[in-house]
């Protein structure tokens, strides 16, 4: 598999509410080899950030402001958000 810099995606990852507290931050830049899914992004985050181990393996996620499944592909420049169970209203 091609792992040159041009074959990687860079995404912005955002954390909210309890997840932001667990990870200790509200966002991060994550780069990973193509092809990549939201699930891959979650794995990266859980491996590399202290505290992120406490995140669920299969959290609710959104890409570019829209809920997606974890097998959704991410493209360069995407905004990936990990969402705790929604409790609004």
């Amino acid at each position: 598999m091609d792992t040159t810099p041009s074959a990687r995606v860079r995404v912005r990852v955002r954390f909210f509410a309890r997840y932001a507290e667990l990870v200790g931050r509200s966002e991060a830049a994550v780069s990973l080899p193509l092809p990549a899914t939201v699930g891959d992004v979650v794995r990266c985050v859980r491996e590399d950030f202290p505290g992120a181990r406490a995140l669920p393996e299969r959290p609710l996620a959104a890409v570019n402001l829209k809920q997606v499944k974890l097998d959704a592909r991410v493209r360069d420049g995407d905004e990936v958000a990990l969402l705790p169970p929604i409790a609004g209203g």
């Binding site: 509410a17 991060a28 080899p33 990266c44 905004e79 609004g88």
Partner: protein, 172 residues
Amino acid sequence: MIKAACGVRNAEWMGWARSHVRWAEHVSFLTRAAISIDVLLADVSSPGHGGTCLFLGTVRNGPDEHGVTAIEYSAYEEMVEAEFGRLLADARGRWPEARIAVRHRLGTIPVGEASIAIAAAAPHRAQAFEACRYVIEEVKRRVPVWKKELRVDGTEVWVDPSGRPTAKPSHV
């Protein structure tokens, strides 16, 4: 394993992803001030719409709660705007004649004050009730807002979607 070869960075995001992000440019569905019911009702009123249903969700401190004094609401704000836009488009698809307005308040909201208000006006009452109910049910399901109960004993507890506090108090 190639997939593990990912890099995470602590640096703040530099903003170049912004152009991929779309959200409604019109009036915000979010507010940090008290929600004005009058404004919402005026938004949906029309001479041809004889039935209006308003739903208010207010911060509760009932027998199921434990000395709640306020709830702190936070959100993925850009997505809230986008999701409300989609949600209202869905509602208008189901009830084409309905006029619907919604506001969600964020920040610290004391017991008894509204966190959300939905107004739905329609020519006849059935559509008004149904559209209003649809919107609040969908909000609970898909609008990324979270709440943390602030209690008289000083503790703070994230609320899970079933309405009950999560096992782990957030202040730990």
